[in-house]
Assembly symmetry: C2
Homo-oligomer: 375 residues x 2
């Protein structure tokens, strides 16, 4: 048995009560509006954490890699969307999962991919379901709901595979910081997906699933009319980017990095720790947000943030702590050996640097939950 | 047997002939100037790669975590420096390695750490060697060579543990981009270390080891008088930051990420791949360098760079490729399913995202070399 005070640092601590509260809050919010919740498991990449998030493993879930799909399938998941545009060479692994009884769907946004899914369906002797990705914000992937390719892709899938529906990811919501803007983004995301679904149906094609999602849009939306399911992931652990977006507070962040003070640079106003980018990731996602939190907010071991103390630089196994630029807060006295906790910018990026969660009950580490890596 | 063309993407490919050439070139350069080379194994984090770099595993090496120390010791390493300021709570693991016959030294820059090393030495019944870290560039850790604490720390170690010597890391060399500036930085690094060693000796203290290092300073130095050993790591794999620093060319980069085209966004001039930050890391180390390479330079599967095509954005499992801002190079036709290779900004950060190197012989993957993670 180890505890926050004696486990070798750095390590990733998980407060399971916060995880449970975050998971329950989002589920209640989405289900109250009608759709099903399809949590994205890419944030936790961990089977025991997925059990807490899904309740029943047979509930819908989203994955970002086929390794996640296979591992969560081994743990009982049967209803998955692999929510990254499909590379044709990956379809045999998808077909193998389906042959095991796992209802995994792929996503795509081109006729070339649809033809590949149709061909893989013929090879497998069983239709592979696909959702057409719709671009609602010009940030990443998908076709616009008005693109003529929509019907072309739909027809290829309907005749040669299975047209499962449409899907959007409102990642643009990470660039908005007021409830009004967030509600507007959520409305645009919903509108893009529902419009695409209506176009497919008007062309005589099926569109049973209308899947939207991102943590901010799922949190702020007030209208999910026409939407059948909502995907979100980072709400489960929360992070400083989501705090910037108004989804919650620092007190909702469930995963923190525990580190140790290993040096002082008084002339530069810097305290050194053993949590560098290998423990925190290089993600500086708050850099372009209203509150730039450096590479993380520094807290005492009990989780209480230290006023305006941030991780302001990282190298591989060193973190540099200093006072937020412009603040006149004092640099605290933190002797060599002091243990601290870091609230991360981006939970998905930080979790992926670790091979397990140290699950806390107060000060005690009661379990280690493995985190997967690779593809 | 897999190959560049059929292994599931993304994966990390390693050209062992480049690794060998990089390793041999640096060893010859440093040894010609007198000192021993103590390669930093944090870049590769892999036992088979370490064998290629060290030749004999009993040759000197550097590590950034105790997990690396333990794993490389299991593989035969006996001469290690753990080159991150020691946290007192980690000393029992250091003592355990020493009790196994591994001559591992720690580094530190405060009387508090020296006292902890002395106490751990008493507890272990055997002196633990420590080097005093000297700050040569004001960038991270260490005391200045003129700091009165130098002698205080030296005396504590000499009477209660083992004063092994002094050590600097010239990380500031990453901020210089001409041979003249690099030589100047290397001279300052050498001067700081040698001056500290001379002060200790003038105070009647031993200083057998004078250890300096960073890849740029090790590459550009012309005078290592008074230096006994040189540490460097990223020279083994090379990367786009080192190309910016003038240490080599893209043709020296030994580790690349292989990915697949999964989509197109013609209106934005973007091609999507399945190598996001989970495969590349979030490191944008060239952002502040003369040639900003985004999150990596894109090449054909044979390694030939595509003119001005960069990874310009990443999310967890998506990479966005576009033409370098300001260039009038055309966006190439790269159909769905096309395989590409990405030259990384920062080899240490990219390698750590993967669990193995796919070792190439031409197109073929002949071996998988495990990469460790954790602490």
């Amino acid at each position: 048995m180890t505890s926050l005070s004696d486990r070798d640092t750095p390590f990733l601590a998980l407060d399971p009560t916060r995880l449970d509260a975050n998971a329950a809050r989002m589920r209640a919010r989405v289900e109250a509006l009608g759709p099903r919740l399809r949590p994205h498991l890419k944030t936790v990449k961990s089977v025991p954490a997925a059990r807490r998030i899904l309740g029943e493993m047979t509930n819908p879930a989203t994955v970002s890699t086929l390794q996640e799909a296979e591992a969560f399938a081994d743990a009982g998941c049967t209803d998955l969307i692999y929510a990254v545009g499909i590379a044709p060479a990956k379809l045999p692994r998808v077909a193998a999962l389906r042959a095991r009884g796992v209802d995994i769907a792929v996503i795509l946004d081109s006729p070339a991919q649809a033809l590949a899914v149709a061909e893989a369906s013929r090879t497998a002797g069983a239709a592979i379901p696909a959702l057409i990705e719709i671009d609602c914000d010009g940030k990443r992937a998908g076709i616009r709901s008005g693109d003529p390719a929509l019907t072309i892709i739909g027809r290829i899938l309907d005749s040669g595979a299975e047209l499962r529906g449409v899907l959007t990811h409102g990642g643009g919501s990470y660039g908005y910081f007021t409830p009004e803007d967030q509600r507007q983004m959520a409305a645009e995301e919903r509108f893009a997906a529902v419009t695409a679904a209506e176009r497919l149906r008007a062309d005589g094609l099926p569109c049973p699933v209308v899947s939207i999602g991102s943590t901010p849009s799922a949190h702020f939306t007030t209208d999910l009319g026409g939407v059948t399911e909502v995907r979100a992931g980072v709400y489960t652990l929360m992070d400083l980017m989501m705090v910037n977006c108004g989804v919650g507070g620092i007190g909702d962040i469930a995963a923190t990095v525990v580190c140790t003070v290993i040096g002082h640079q008084p002339d530069r106003g810097v305290i050194l720790t053993d949590a560098g980018y290998m423990a925190l990731s290089k993600d500086h996602g708050t850099a372009s947000m209203p509150v730039d939190q450096g590479f993380g907010v520094v807290a005492m071991l009990d989780g209480t943030p230290i006023p305006d103390l941030l991780v302001t630089a990282t190298s591989q196994e060193h973190g540099q702590l200093s006072i937020r630029p412009g603040s006149d807060a004092p640099l605290p006295e933190l002797p060599i050996g002091t243990r601290l906790r870091i609230y991360p910018n981006h939970a998905c990026a930080t979790v992926a640097m670790h091979r397990s969660f140290a699950v806390l009950d107060g000060e005690k580490v009661t379990e280690d939950w493995p985190i997967m890596s690779g593809w």
